[in-house]
Amino acid sequence: MMAQSVPHQTTDKKRVKVYELRNNDWFDRGTGFCTAGFMQLDDGQTRDPRVYVESEDQPDRLLLETKICREDGFQKQQETLIVWTEPSSGTDMALSFQEAEGCHMIWKFISGIQRTFQGALAGPADDSLSDDLAIDAQTTISLPPADLKSLAEIEGAMRVMSQTANGRDALTKFIMSDDYIGKLIPLVEMAEDLESLPDLHRLCNIMKIAILLNDTAIIEHAVSDDCLLGVVGALEYDPDFPGHKANHRHWLDNQGRYKEVVPIEDEVIRRKIHQTYRLQYLKDVVLARILDDPTFSVLNSLIFFNQVDIVQHLQGNANFLNELFGIFRAVPPDPRKKKDAVLFIQQCCSIAKNLQPPARQTLYNNFIAHGLLQVINFGLRHGDVAVRVGATDILVSMIDHDPHMIRQTLYRQIHDNQPLLTDSLVDLLLVEVDLGVRAQIADSLRILLDHGPQVQAQEAFAKANGEFPARARLAPAAEVHELLLAHFYEHTAKKLFKPLMALEGRTDMNFPVQQASMFPYLIETLSYFIRQHMHRSKFFMLQNNIAQRIVQLLSCPEKYLRLVAVRFFRHLVGLQDDFYINHMAEKQVLGPILQVLIKTMPRDNILSSACLELFEYIKKENVKDLLKYLVQRHREQLVDLSYMETFRDIVFRQEQPQGGTMEYFLENEDEEARRPMQPNSRMMEHIAIDPSEEEYWNTSDDEDGPESKALDGPPTNGAATTTTPQQQKPLVDYPSDEEAEGKSDDAAMPPSSETKLGPDETGETQSVPVTPPPAVGPPPERLSEKRRREEEDDDELEKLMQHKRRNSSSAGSNASITPGNMVRRRRSFAERASPSGAPRKISISISPSLKTGGNARSDEES
C-alpha cells in the first residue's frame, strides 16, 4: 500500500470515522486513520487513486478502501465531512474527520483526481490543481447511455446526484453538454410502443428530476420545439398516478390554440409567445403538484422576462398597433376579429399588470393614443359576455394602474360634451346580467369617483418638486375631481340610483331576481359614496329621500335585502355624522328596524344579529339623538325587548333618574354602560320619578348636541351643520306627541308649541327664523330644496307611522308653532352668548310644561 506523489502529494494520516448508510441510518463502521493516494496494482502498471482508512485499534485492518472514480461523486460537506456513493454497491458512505485540516487535505486530493476525470471528459485538463479546493471543485459524472435497458440505472443515478449541490451542478452540466434530454426523447415513443408502463414511469421520473434541477438552460431546452412534446409526453405517465395518463401533448401540440389577431412578424417574439405559453402550462398543469419553491420562481422569472420582451415589442411597434386598432374601424366591420382584438388587448393588459409601472404607463399611453377608450366603449355594449368581461377587465386594469388617467379622460369628455364613460358604465351596470362584470363595474365607478386623496398628495408633491409644469397640460386633480363629482350628482347619480328611487309609492316588495340582486350593489355603492363625498351625497340623500326608500326595503320578503337595508343604516350611524344621525331620527328609520328585529326575534339569525348590533352600537356610542328618539317613540317595544341587556340599557339610561348633573351624564356614560344591570324591579321603580327631570335631560342634551357644534364648527362645514338644527326639531317634539295622544288638551297644549312643529310647517316656519349667522349660512338654493324634500317626507311619514298621532294632536298645535320656535331660537342664541351656564337654565325654564306629559306616559306604561 504505497502512497505515491504523482500527481499529488499523499496526505498524512488523518483521524476519521467511517459511516455507511443502512436503512436510512448512518452506521458507524469504526474509527481509523485516513490516507489517500495512488495504488499500484499487481501488474505494477496502472495506478488507481484510492482512499483508505486503517482501523485505529487494529492497524492491520482496513476499514475502508475505495477507488475514486468518475461516477461516485465525492462531496465535501461542512468542514469535516466527505460523502459519496460507492458505485459498486450503491451504498452511501461518509467520512467524518476529526480535524477540518485533515478533511481539507484528503478533499484536495480527491477533487484533484476528479478534475482530471473531468478534463478527460470535457477536453484538455487544467493541470494546475487549484488551491481553493472545495468551492470550485467540480464533480464530473456520466450517466449510462440512454436506452430502455438502463432507465432504472439512470433514474437511480440521477436521483442520488440530485440530492447534493455539487451533484446537481455536475448533472446539469452533463445533461446540457450531452443533450441527454434529446437522447431520452425517442425512448418515450419506444416505451409507448412496447406499452411498457414501468419504463414510462421511469422516464417521467427522469424528466421530473431534470426539470427540478432548476436550471434555466434545461428548462428552456425542455420547452423548445424539438423537445417539448417528448418531455411532456414522458410527464404524462406519472407513477404517482399509475392508473392515469394525462394529455399534455394534446394540449400543447394543437397549434390552433394560438390565435393571431394581427400577425406578429418578429420570429423571436413569436417564439417567445409560444415558449411563455408552454412554461405556464408546465407551471400550472404538469408540475403543479411537485413544484418546489426554487423551480417555481425560476419558471416565473422566465415567464416574466418573456412577457416584458413581448409587451415592449408590441407597444413600440406602431404598425402593429395601427393594424390592431384599425380592426375596430374596418369597413366592412369584421365582428369576429373585433371580438378577438378585444380579447387580445385584455390579455395584453393582464400581462402588463406584472410589468414595472413606467413600462405599463407607456403601454397604456400608446393604447389610449390609438383609441383604447373607444374600444372599451365598444366592448361594454357588446352582446357577448366574454367581450364585456374583456372590456371591463381592460378598464379595471387601467384604473388599477392609475385612476387619474381615466379621470382626465372623463374630464375631457365633459368639456367636449361627449358621452361619458361613467354614464356608459352606469347604463351597463343596470342591465348587466353577468355578476362578474357587474361587480367590476360597481368597483370601477367607486374608484373613479373616489375622493382620491392620493392624487392630490401626488400633485402637491409634484408641485413642491417643481415638476408641476410637466403635468401642466393636465387639469389639476382637484379640479377634475370637482367637475366629475358635480357632473355625477347632477346627471349620473339619478340614473344610477333610479331603481332605488323608483321604489317610491311601491307597496309590493317582491322583485324579480335580476332587480333584487341589483339593490345590494346600489346600496353598497351608495354607502361608499356617502363615506367619500361629504356634502354632495348628503344633498343627494335629502333631495331624493333615499333613506325612506331604503326603509321600504326593510319590508321586503327577501331577508338578504332587509339585511342590506339594515347594514346601510348601520353604516350611516357608524359615520358619527350629526347630519345623518338627525336624518335617521327624522326619517324614523329605527322604528322599522325595530319592527324587523321584533318580527325576527324569536329566531337567532343574521338579520336579528345585524339589528342587535346596530342598537348595541347606538347604545355603546351613546348616540343621544337616536337613543332619545327610540325611548320616546318606541318605548313599549324597547321594554318588551328589555330581556336583552342592550335594550334594558337603552331604556334605563334614557330614563336615568339620578339628580346628577349634566356633566355626569356626559362624562360618565361609559362607566354607566358598564355598570351591571339592575333587575327589572329597578326599572319600574324609577318610572315614578319626576318626569320634568327626565325632560330636562333630553332638552339640554339637545342643546348640547349639534347646535353647539354648529357654532364651533369651522365655516367650511357650514352646509352640513346648518341643516342640523332644523332636522332636530321633530326629535324634541316626539314626547309631547305621545302625551297629546292620550291626554287632556290642557296637558298637551304647552309642549305642543314646541313639539308640534308638524312636519308640514317646519319647512315654512324655519326658513326664516332659523337662518343662522351669515358665516354658516347655507346656499339659498339648498334651503328651498330642503323645503321641498320635507314636504315630500311628510307624506311618507304619514303613511308609515305617524298617522294616528298627527290626527289626534294636530288641531292644537298649529296655533302655537311660532312661540315654540321662538323659544328654541332664543335658547340657542342665549347659549351662544354664554355657552357655559346658559343651557341648563333655559332647559329648566321649559321643563314644567312637560311635566304632565311625562306623567301621562308613565301612566300608560305601568
Partner: protein, 446 residues
Amino acid sequence: MNDLDRAIAQLRACRPIPEAEVRELCHKARELLIEEGNVVTVTAPVTICGDIHGQFHDLMELFRVGGDVPDTNYLFMGDFVDRGFYSLETFLLLLCLKVRYPDRMTLIRGNHESRQITTVYGFYDECMRKYGSANVWRYCCDVFDYLALGAIVLGAANSLGDRPQQENVQDDVEIEVCDHTGSIMSRFQRQLDDEESMTDNNHSHINNTRGHDGSSASPVVTSVTRGARGGGAGDTGERTGPPGSGASGSSGGSIGNPTGAVLCVHGGLSPLIDTVDKIRLLDRKQEVPHEGAMCDLLWSDPDEIDGWGLSPRGAGFLFGADIVKVFNHRNDISLIARAHQLVMEGFKEMFDSSIVTVWSAPNYCYRCGNVAALLELCDEPSGTGLFARSNGDASRSAGVSSNKGVMQEGDAVPRSGPARRYRVFQAAPQDSRGMPAKKPVADYFL
C-alpha cells in the same frame, strides 16, 4: 332535490358543476345560512372536523372514516378552501350536503373563507382556471359572508356510548383515540375527582332549566335523532355507527348531562368577547375584518402565555390558559374545539383539556407528513342530557350576569369535558386521486 343529488354525485366524483348550478346552489345556501345564528346550536352526537384546505380526496377519506353524510352529523370548523388543488370541489360538495341535509351538516367560517385570503392562497386562481372567470369565486365568497362564526354543541355525553362488549369500561373512558379502521389506539380514563367536584359545582340555573326542559322537550328530540341515525347504522357499521344505540342499558345510572357545552370556532377567543352571547351581537355578513371580535374568532391561537398576546399572524391574538378557563367557566363551557393550526398528530388538547385543536387535512399541502383527526362527541344514551343548557332562553343572560359575582376565578373548578373519541386518519392513498385538475388556458394570443 333531484338536481341536488345529481350535483352531489358529480362533485363526489371530483368533477365541478356548471356555473349556473353553482349560482343556484349558492342562492339556496344563502337562504339557509341567513337563518342561522352567529353561533349555531348543534346537538350531540356530532363529529367535529378541522381544516380541509381543498384536499378533496382526503375529505372523501374523512367521510369513509367518520361515516357518510347524512348518517353522521358533521360540524366543519372552516378553512375549506385554499392550498389544496380541489378547493372548489371541496367547498361545493360541503355546501351541497349542507343544502341537502341542513340538520346534519354545520359549516362555520374560517379565516380562509374571505375574499382577500382566497385571492392569495389559491381558491381564486382555481376558480379562474376551472371556469375561466371569477364569477364562481364571487358566488362562493358571497356565501362565505353568510357562514356562521361558531357553534355550540349541546348534550354531549360524559361517556363514550360504546360497543356492547366493552360495556365494563365505557363509563370511565374520557378520551379514546382510534385509527382509521376504528381500532382503538389508546384510551384515557376519567379522573374521578373531576367528576365529583363538577357535580358539586353545577350552577343553580342549569339545574333548573334541565329539570324543566328535560321532561318536556327531550323525549321528542331524542326519538328524532334516533330515527335519523337508524338509517345509517346498516352500512357504515359499528365504527361510525350511532354511538350509544347499542349500549344504552349500561348507563342507566347517569343523571342527565353533567358536562357543559362545547364551543366550536375556527380560531379562538377574542378579548372583546367575554360571553357567547356577545358573539350573537356581531354583524357577521361581511368580509372578515382586519380587527375586532369577528376577526379574532377566526384568527386567534391558544398559546402557553398568561393573558393575551400579540399574534405573529398579524391578526387575532394569542390567549393563555387563564383566558380559556375564565371564559369556559363564565359560559358554562367544558371544552373549546377549534382548528386553524397544523398539528402533526391531528389533534392536540391544551390547558387541562379545556381547549383542543382539531386538524383534518392529512399530509397538509401534500407535503407536511401529518396525520389528520376528527373529534366525535356522543349523545347521552338516556337522552336526558340534550337540553341541559337552554341556550336562547330569555332570562339566561340576566342569570349569567347576576351570577358574575359568585362565579369568579377563585372557585372555578375545571369542568370535566365530554367524552371524546378522536379518529386519526392519513392521506388518501395516491391512486384514488386524479391528477391535479388545473385546466390550462384554452386559447392564447400572447
